[in-house]
Amino acid sequence: MSRHKTDLTDPLLLAAAGAGIAALATGAALWQRRRQARQAGEYEPIATDAPHWTLDKASDRALFGKSLLVNRPRAELYAAWTPERFPEFMENVVAVDDLGDDVSQWTIKAPAGREVTLVNRITERVPDQSIYWQSTPASDIANSGEVRFTDAPAGRGTFVSLILAYDPPAGEVGRLAAKLLQREPEVQARRDLHRFKQLMETGEVTSNASPSARSAESPAEPHI
């Protein structure tokens, strides 16, 4: 192992160098965007068609939005988005309990083996289109969101958008720590949305479970 650490073409080193370059490029792009935004301040801004969760904004709340094309009809997907089916594709959801009156209690895996409880109320349902929710004061994390189903053009199926706003526990530092541990709500939500797509399109959640010569891994469990 140590022999390879010094090898300049070690793939891990290569990946690390790639990640470094990507980070630099991201920094440069952000700086450029800020510079352009300052220049644009001289003009009246024009309303664009960008989804609101993709716009630059100043807010204490973490806002996350992700849209995916799912090759199934809108009504079928809306009907499948029910708490009973969440454990099939939401990996970090331990349980969803119905408390009645459109309020449900979610038990979710959190960093360092802890669990977090969310208590959310569905505030609006637009059949075959949208489900909105808002957390109640009993929730560990204040959050609100929407899952939206819109027809994709040319018979391609449906755009499923998950839009989520929440107060990160322990602020930005906590958020970064959670991200490193892959328990950050954005990472979870993005992966859950992909699993929903897999389940609806193929009938199963994709798994790379297969053997390797790494003794810690099981051929029946997925791995990174």
Partner: protein, 405 residues
């Protein structure tokens, strides 16, 4: 079971690992009867593909017998099947467009993030090829789990031998797609860089698709001899200035279509390639694109450029202005294997392809480490290696009648 594993750069070992298991309803398990080493396995061997982990089972060209099926598999125990190297669900937007290698579901949610960061979109999955493409165990093993087994595997009739059909897994459809992507018109002159197995199938495919002439470029005598046997005119780049020769052979206008079957580890003792090698060593680039540069400069104005050769990242001194000013059309990509399986199997039965004479060696799976070394170091003698699980270590057969070897 026994399996060929990647342990690090230039380190391949055969290990005893757990058997695969059925995990999803559409899965099947096959017992491998033949599995080949691919040119792209050399990119893993040389450590140019990021996202490999020590202990990964490699191999993506394989076939075998169905031994176990999930509840929703359409395969039956005992069937002989060739497995496409691309893993494709068959039901997403891309699969429905028959762009199977772009499948949007086969790369699992756990591994797709890194792939998306690097490429802009997560790539489809493949067997035995790094975690950016799903991290699935490969086919250089005794048994393999096949996801979506109702979509990919090609059922093989009993009268066809393994050697006749094994390459339906990758290099035959890859050569075929390379020629299809060159949009060949009747009578066209097509130049093919690289006479490895993919290049050799590209030559056969281009002629079947109506090319008037195929000009093949390499420097290994055995590989050039095979190219000639399959109907190409040949150029050894150590003997001529390739661009000058191509121009003189086409009345100065250049080939109508140029196909790069070389990819990221181009050979050649030229100034640009030596600079590329230095940059790759210093990690400021991952690609050596000498062949691709030459193809762009050689191609006729308004011609077509097809790139089946594998590249992994950023390239230097890419002749972008030349590409644009000459108005070239570029097509590339991993192979949509499932799209071509049926017609290519029929063409094999009709005797349209020579799928056998490029195989130089049959070797036991147990000898994989030695075979990788030969495949890497002796490319003139070793033109294609087929590994056989179950054979006793050392039971290697080499094809002796190779001319010009």
């Amino acid at each position: 079971m026994r399996a060929v594993t990647w342990q690090g750069r230039h380190k391949i070992s055969v290990e005893t690992v757990p058997d695969p298991e059925i995990v999803n309803p559409r899965d099947a398990i096959i017992r491998v009867t033949s599995t080949a080493i691919c040119g792209s396995d050399l990119h893993l061997y040389d450590g140019y593909i990021p996202g490999m982990r020590a202990g990964d089972i490699v191999g993506h060209e394989f076939m075998g017998e169905v031994v176990e099926t999930g509840a929703c598999s359409t395969l039956k125990r005992g069937q002989r099947v060739v497995i496409p190297f691309t893993i494709s669900c068959g039901q997403c937007f891309f699969c429905e467009k028959q762009q199977y290698s772009a499948c949007d579901n086969s790369n699992p949610s756990e591994t797709r993030d890194a792939s998306e960061l690097m490429m802009g979109h997560a790539m489809g999955a493949a067997f035995g090829y790094a975690h950016l493409t799903g991290g699935y165990a490969g086919g250089q093993a005794e048994y393999v789990r096949i996801p979506y087994s109702d979509v990919g595997p090609v059922v093989i009739p009993d009268d066809l031998a393994d050697d006749d059909v094994l390459f339906l897994s990758d290099i035959l459809p890859t050569g075929w797609q390379a020629a299809v992507n060159a949009d060949i018109e009747p009578g066209d002159t097509v130049a093919v860089w690289g006479c490895g197995p993919v290049g050799l199938f590209t030559i056969q495919s281009a002629l079947l698709l109506g090319a008037g002439r195929v000009i093949a470029i390499d420097h290994f005598p055995t590989r050039l001899a095979l190219a000639k046997k399959y109907g190409a005119e040949i150029l050894d780049y150590t003997q001529v200035d390739v661009r000058e020769a191509l121009a003189e052979m086409t009345g100065g206008i250049g080939p109508d279509a140029c196909i790069d079957c070389v990819g990221m580890e181009s050979h050649g003792f030229t100034v640009d390639n030596i600079l590329d090698q230095v940059k790759v060593k210093m990690l400021s680039s991952t690609e050596r694109i000498h062949a691709l540069r030459q193809a762009i400069l050689a191609c006729r104005k308004g011609g077509r450029l097809s790139i089946p050769g594998v590249y992994g990242g950023f390239a230097d001194k890419f002749p972008l202005g030349q590409l644009m000013e000459k108005g070239l059309t570029v097509k590339s990509g991993q192979t949509h294997v499932q799209r071509y399986s049926g017609e290519l199997l029929d063409m094999i039965r009709d005797g349209k392809f020579d799928t056998v004479s490029l195989i130089s060696h049959h070797a036991p799976l147990e000898d994989a480490a030695d075979m990788y070394r030969h495949w890497h170091d002796e490319q003139n003698l070793y033109t294609k290696i087929v590994l056989k699980p179950g054979l006793e270590k050392g039971a290697i057969t080499a094809r002796q009648e190779m001319e010009h070897a």
